[in-house]
Each structure stands twice: as C-alpha cells, then as structure tokens.
Symmetry: C2
Subunit: 337 residues, 2 copies
C-alpha cells in the first residue's frame, strides 16, 4: 500500500501522457454536445471519485450530475429514459456486474456511455462507448489508492474548467512534495489513533470526496468505524456522536469551505473532541503541520489532500499489527449484482 | 419520541385526508408533464426519504432521479441548466438556508419546484412552486420519526405506480399492527445493544433508506457509531469492519433484495457477527420474530419496517440512561449554508 501510494505522481504523469488524445477527444465531445445530465455509476472508492467529478460537472458545465443506484436496474429492471444523458461508469476492475448492467441499460435507452477504468479490456470497458484507461498499473493492495487519484485526475481532465485543467501537468511535482512532507507526520499521528475504534472525517464541497475516501480507507485497513461525511450532513444529526472518545479528522484549506470547517472545529473543541486537520494551515488541528501548498486551487485539492490520509490509514494499520494490503473479508475485485 | 412514533398511523391518515387534493394535483401534473429528471434536495433524515422517493421515480416513471448537493450552489455559486427538471425539496422545518438557496437557483434556471415540509409557512414552502404539507403535527423530539414516515408516504402518493398508491389508505391499520407487534420486541432487543458502540445497518433497493435512517437514529439518540448502507456498498469495503464486537442489523422481507441480504447474513454468521433482521421472516436473525405481514409490497415496506427500528433506537437510548428526546449537541432545526 505504501509503495502504491508513493507511485502516484509517476502514475499521474503516465495517465496525462498516455491518455492525452483520449482525454482531449472526450473533453471536446462533452463540450461540443453538452449532455443534459451526467449520471455516474460506481461503488466504494470509485463512487468517491464520482462524487468529486459530479461537483466539477455542476460547477463547470452547469449540467446537473449525480451518482445513480445500479439496483434500480438490477433489482427492479428499471429502463430509464436517458436521451442526451452521459453515463460515466467508474471502476478499478471493470468487472462488477451491476455496473455493466447499468451501462447496457443506459445504452439501450439513449445515453452515451464512458468508462473510467484501470482495466481497458474488462467487461465494463467493452460495454461502454468510450474508455479512459486510468493507467494506474496493477494495484495489488486491496485498499485502492493510486486508482482513486487516477480517477480524480481523469475527472479533472475531462470536466474541470480550462484554467484548472491547464494546471494538471504540474500536479505530479506537487504530489511529490506532499508525499515528502507527509510521510513522517503520518507515522507520528498514527500513534495517536492506535486505540481509536471510532472516527469521524468531514469536509465540504470538492473535498467531501476526501472525507468519504479517508473513512473508507480506515474501515478497510484498520477496521475502524469511520464516518466520512459532508460537514453539513454531519451537523444534521451525526455530530451528536462526537465526544472525547471519537476523534474528528477534517480536510480544509483556503477556499469557500474553510469557514464552515473552522466553525465545526471550534464546536468540536468545546466538547473535548480530538481534532486533526489535513490542509494548508488555514484551519489548524492539534498535531498535523500544514501539508499542502497554499497555492492549490480548491478544485484540485482532493488529489493532494488524500495522500497524507492514505499514508495515515496504512500507518494506523501497521501500528495495530494489521496488514493493510490484505484486509480480512475483502478481495481485490468485488462483484455485486 | 415513543409518543411520536405511536402517533404515526393517525398522522398518515391525516396526511392522506387533508392533502388529498394537493397530492392528486401534483401527481397528475407529474404524469401529464413528465420531467426529464427529478432532483431531490434534503439533509439528514429527509435525505433518506428522498433516497426512497428517487427509487420510486426511477422504477415507476422511468425518469432518472437523485439527490443534489446544495453546496454546488451555496459554496460555488453554480447555476445549473434545469429546464424540464422537477426539484423536490424535503425538509421537516423548511428553514435550512442551503435548501432555500437551491430551490431559488432552480426556479431561476428552468426547474419546477415542489416542497415536502411539515411547515407550510416556512421559507422553503414560500420559495417553492408547490407545497405538500406533511401534516405530521408538531414534532418535539429532536430525532425525527413521524415526519420521516410522512415524507415516505407523501413520496409514495406522488410517485408510486397506481396499483401501489391505491394501497396507501390501508397502511395506517397495518402500521398499528406493526406497532403492537414491535414494542415489546424492541424493548427486549435493546438490552442486547446496551454496550454496543458500533453497529452496521444494511438493506437494499427501496429498503436502503431504512438502513440509512436506522443508523442515523442510533447516532442521534444513543451516540452509537452506526453505519447505514446498501448491502452492495457494504461489500465494497466496509464489510471488513464487521466482527463479534460490531453487530449487523438488516432489513429484509420477501422480494428481489432478500437473496442478497440472506447471503450477507450467512457471511456475517461465519465471522461470528451478531445479526438481527427486521422483516417478515423471509430472512431470519437471532432474536427478532417476524414483525411485518408477508403481504406488504416491497415499495411500501420502508414505511413499516422503520417503526420497529425507531422503537429500538428509543429503547436503546433509555437502556443507556440517555434522553432520546434531547440528544447532546443537537437542536430541532439545523441551519446549514
């Protein structure tokens, strides 16, 4: 898992290089024939990348976007009217039958379909009209890391505004800096979570995906009951869970989300909650130093801020004597119907 | 909370009676001018009702449907193109500014807007084109119960197929039976969860809303780290959390979801996980008897199966010496921006 985390800058460079034409063609097609709706289908980690992508679609293209529930098709046989809809399936393995079923239903009912997958020969890739190969290389740790950020990167290349997309070639170098800055900080912080069995992770906007993904990594590698959520959803009920035995881990840097996270951190502080913040220092936690450069655009932060979180999940598992590469009860390819 | 749970059958009868014309008009309008997309905006409990409603829209009307993220508007100022889109805002209090902002943006950009709220004079109701008053009466417990099922009932009245909608007038009587059957069972089962501080709740399809809502009630009233999720999402990672210290609580009756839940229960059994099932006995747990009649259509089960779950959440809080009416850190109206 550590090795795959460290590979990410190189994999991003590979993706931007090897898929340059495919990404540009798909990007141009979306702009020349804007869909009236973008529906994502994905599970687990890939659905967190889809959440990020859905924000980009809405803020950049003014097109509504959301994740679909494959079970409306697989359980209930729904045939949706999808003329002028773009369906984007996001999957590491490309082998989950429910995603393939949704894509086939979508094609038969008017949609254009695009697959973002690390397996360009998979059933999903064969079913979709267009394919972006995530170029993440073989991922052997069960907990996905480099595939996730490749999904974010491909999403940004497809859906971000021109001035944001133009920054992507510079990201691998920034990611290297973040990796360097994070590795010892993550190992030190992992000690504090040695005996935590409940954690809440929170963020908002583009970074909500980071909160969800961090929580899933903690669940998968360390069996922690980790709740990842938007800070707004947290305030609508689950915030009652927080106390001195349930630490809060936030993602926040400068940007329109910072004020709300700052308010959440103050409120948590008043209740004796242990708070950490992954970010550029705009909002401060207890132990972590600023790990991100302050110059990063909010749209691109999810690619960088998840790196310390991935490292932390791996370090916590090791601190607990667990093997983060092979969590109990999980296999690399999950087939759901 | 117990009293408000017990009120539900009467409140449902009130809603069907007092909103008969408003529900019929809205239902007719949706069918005579089908939207190309239904977007729900909601938070917390109301978003679980929206999840249920989005399944109904997709399976019955063949129209794509999903929950929107208000923060694309409130954080990033997005102006979505929403011609021929129906935006449905679901809120107990009708006072959360982010929902009002989203509805205003939607109206200004082509959408038709509908509010389902318990406060027909609220800011949200005033902003929307049409309003359904949930008629749940004043809800004083912070943890919403009767408002939630009123939201489900209004959703079924608006979006379910004719043969399902025609069954709604009979539901209050069935709910009375479920209440009777559940109250002592919930009190007995609560003892088993006295010291559980982590729980996973799971279901699929229409019932996925029940799993999410049950988890939120456990978080709010008993401060349990409860994860509610579709069984398919559970299998894509979080299932690694389950062990003898993390009980699994499922919703399953006869229907297309039962086989998957049955498989999940078998797998959990093999790992020594404590399993309970709320349902009609099609899938069996350890302690709970069948609490639902086997004749209930899967589309309508979420209204009934949540009743034992609400009672259980209240009983667990009482068993722990907590006050389920006034959870720490929460107020009845949550304003998020």
């Amino acid at each position: 898992m550590r090795r795959e985390i460290a590979e990410q800058p190189q994999r991003w460079a590979d993706l931007l290089d090897q898929q340059r034409t495919a990404l540009r063609d798909a990007r141009d097609r979306i702009r020349s024939h804007p869909p009236r709706l973008v529906l994502f289908v994905a599970r687990g980690t890939s659905d967190h990348a889809a959440l990020y992508a859905s924000y980009l679609v809405q803020t950049t293209l003014r097109v509504p976007a959301a994740s679909a529930s494959p079970s409306v098709v697989t359980l209930y046989g729904a045939r949706l009217s999808l003329d002028d809809v773009l369906v984007v399936a996001v999957s590491q393995s490309g082998e989950s039958p429910d995603l393939v079923s949704f894509v086939r239903m979508a094609q038969a009912n008017g949609a254009t379909t695009l697959a973002l997958t690390n397996a360009p020969a998979s059933a999903l890739a064969r079913a979709a009209d267009q394919v972006i190969d995530l170029c993440a290389g073989e991922e052997t740790a069960v907990a996905a890391t480099k595939t996730y950020t490749a999904q974010l990167l491909a999403s940004a290349a497809l859906f971000a505004a021109d001035d944001v997309a133009s920054l992507l070639p510079g990201l691998p170098a920034v990611a290297e800096e973040v990796l360097q800055a994070s590795s010892s900080a993550a190992a030190e912080l992992a000690i504090a979570y040695r005996f935590a069995n409940r954690v809440v992770t929170a963020a908002r906007g583009y970074s909500a995906a980071s909160a969800h993904e961090m929580a899933l990594k903690l669940m998968e590698t360390s069996y922690i009951s980790a709740h990842g959520m938007s800070s707004a959803d947290l305030l609508h009920g689950p915030v009652a869970m927080l106390d001195e035995s349930v630490p809060l881990l936030c993602f926040a840097s400068h940007g329109p989300d910072a004020a709300e996270i700052d308010e959440l951190v103050r409120r948590a502080d008043q209740h004796g909650v242990d708070v950490e913040v992954v970010g550029d220092g705009t909002v401060a936690g207890r132990r972590l130093p600023p790990l991100l450069p302050a110059s990063i655009r909010p749209e691109l932060r999810p690619l960088l801020e998840i790196i310390p979180a991935q490292l932390l999940a791996a370090e916590i598992a090791l601190e607990r004597g667990l093997d983060p590469d092979s969590p109990r009860g999980l296999s690399k390819v999950t087939r759901t119907y």
